[in-house]
């Protein structure tokens, strides 16, 4: 049986100035129920690709099918509706700093689940925060009053609030110490195991983490997918750039 794809990127090109392509014909499939990690050196187009998937940027050409629908050709209203299928954990969590940890998680529920009562919303937010492993004593603190790791957990709880079909992690371990990095990796794995049909897409330059958590890894270079497949494909690759990235990544650890 053919594997169902949550995201399908077909020959996507993006140019901000004439002739200069940041994305130069990207083809990539992100299957449901699997963790796909996008890696690459800085400036290879990872963040730009992510913005295209989320509908924040429109490609110059090509298609980005999210749950079977091309997000690139959607109008604003339809794009906003489509985004409800995403849960995004930002690099620095991007928590609203005038809301408490609990209010941050309640926010998407209040916005989109008008059918729920206040107590139901609170109950669901508690559940997501517990799932993310955040202790109850921190729920009424402001984001500025908790540690970086706790902010990540809260950001993940907020991303999970609407039970999204696609979870996106934007550089989740950048700037974290090795212990916190491992904690975040474990969090991604446990979250994924909690709801197995969710497609997880992790954008990272941490190769060690990519091999540890990824079912599939895609390496970007010069706006193209250089290599895509299970982690072992990378270890066996004789492409000099991949070999260099792998050796640097492994040596670093």
């Amino acid at each position: 049986m053919a594997q169902e794809n949550a995201i399908e990127i077909i020959d996507v090109k993006k140019s901000f100035s004439e002739g200069d392509y940041v994305l130069n014909g990207i083809n990539l499939k992100v299957p449901k129920g699997k963790i796909t990690v996008i890696i690459g050196f800085s400036g290879t187009g990872k963040s730009v690709l992510l913005k295209h998937i989320l509908g924040l940027l429109k490609p110059t050409s090509g298609q980005i099918k999210v749950l079977g629908k091309d997000i690139a050709s959607m109008g604003d209203e339809e794009t906003i509706k489509m985004r409800k299928h995403f849960g995004v954990l930002f690099q620095y969590a991007a928590l609203f700093d005038d809301m408490t940890v609990l209010e941050n998680v309640q926010f998407p529920l209040k916005e989109h689940r008008k059918d729920l009562s206040k107590s139901q919303i609170k109950e669901m937010a508690f559940e997501k925060l517990k799932q993310s492993g955040l202790d109850e004593k921190h729920y009424n603190k402001l984001p500025g009053e908790v540690s970086g790791g706790m902010r990540k957990r809260c950001g993940l709880a907020r991303a999970l609030a609407l039970d999204p079909d696609i979870l996106i992690y934007d550089e989740p371990t950048t700037g974290l110490d090795p212990i916190l990095t491992e904690m975040v990796d474990n969090l991604i794995l446990s979250t994924h195991n909690h709801k197995e049909d969710t497609a997880s897409l992790v954008v990272s330059h941490d190769l060690h983490a990519a091999f540890r958590i990824g079912d599939y890894v895609a390496m970007l270079d010069s706006g193209k997918v250089l290599l895509h497949g299970p982690p072992k494909v990378f270890l066996e690759s004789d492409n000099p750039l991949v070999a260099r990235f792998v050796s640097k990544g492994v040596n670093k650890k």
């Binding site: 989320l54 924040l56 985004r83 995403f86 700093d97 916005e111």
Partner: protein, 275 residues
């Protein structure tokens, strides 16, 4: 040699005109951007989901929290202006006109302009800094990917609250400035109380007060539009937030003073036309 100098001078003149043109062109584009940003934001306020709670929060921040500073500056402005006007009129033995002249000056000019400047420095700066830091810390992106339209959620309540709060604050300024004027003229300079109120009531008509309130609403729209636009489009990190705040506040203040002159003429023409 002369030909070379002539060519060089011509080159610099060309360069100066080109720079001037590019600056003007950039300004026109930016004005267009600001207007389309404002028009879209204002429009979203009337579509679901309605942001009444956010609007009330902004009214509280822009209106309530500015009252103290408006009262303080209003009172002292009223007293200072009264004293200057009194000294001027004393030279021509017309001190009885101090009350009405101060009242007209406050209601038509100083009330809306000073309120606009004070509130744009306080609330406008906070708006630009707040939205700017939300932009650089990806909080605005987070709203977007959560399916929440950031202009509708963040910008529209701020602009509408400013449009409504500014005339109210202008009214407060006018009132306390007249109290200050009364205190100085009657209690300190010992002018006749009955003449003070009688002349003021005779000369000051509701159209003067309305003129100030209309100006207040326009200044509210202008400063909030400029500051939210600057904050919303912040680029870079902490430095970008600082730049956005600085440019937002300075431009708001300059625009308030320039617009005041044109509004004054426009309103005058309107009154003459409808008279």
């Amino acid at each position: 040699m002369v030909e070379q100098i002539r060519q060089k001078v011509n080159h610099y003149i060309d360069l100066a005109f080109l720079t001037l043109w590019q600056t003007f062109e950039g300004f026109i584009y930016e004005v267009g951007d600001v207007f389309s940003f404002g028009a879209y934001s204002l429009k979203t306020f009337f579509s679901k989901p309605y942001r009444f709670k956010e609007f009330v929060q902004q009214m509280e921040f822009i209106g309530n929290k500015s009252i103290f500073i408006v009262v303080l500056t209003g009172t002292f402005t009223g007293m200072a202006l009264s004293f200057q006007v009194y000294l001027g009129f004393k030279m021509v033995n017309a001190t009885s006109l101090t009350g009405p002249i101060v009242a007209m000056g406050i209601a038509r000019e100083l009330g809306p302009v000073l309120t606009g400047l004070i509130v744009s420095a306080r609330a406008g700066g906070a708006m630009a800094a707040n939205l700017g830091s939300m932009r650089v810390s990806e909080q605005i992106d987070a709203l977007e990917v959560m399916g929440v339209e950031p202009q509708e959620y963040l910008v529209a309540p701020r602009i509408w609250a400013s449009i409504i709060a500014l005339p109210l604050l202008t009214g407060v300024f006018d009132f306390v400035a007249m109290i200050g004027s009364y205190f100085l003229c009657i209690r300190v300079l010992e002018m006749d109380e009955a003449i003070f109120w009688d002349k003021t009531a005779l000369w000051l008509n509701p159209a003067h007060i309305n003129e100030g309130l209309i100006k207040g609403a326009v200044f509210g729209a202008v400063f909030s539009l400029i500051c939210t636009y600057r904050g919303f489009n912040t680029k870079g990190g902490a430095r970008g937030v600082g730049d956005a705040t600085n440019r937002g506040v300075v431009l708001s203040m300059v625009m308030i003073i320039i617009l005041d002159f044109f509004l004054m003429n426009l309103i005058e023409v309107y009154y003459k036309w409808t008279a």
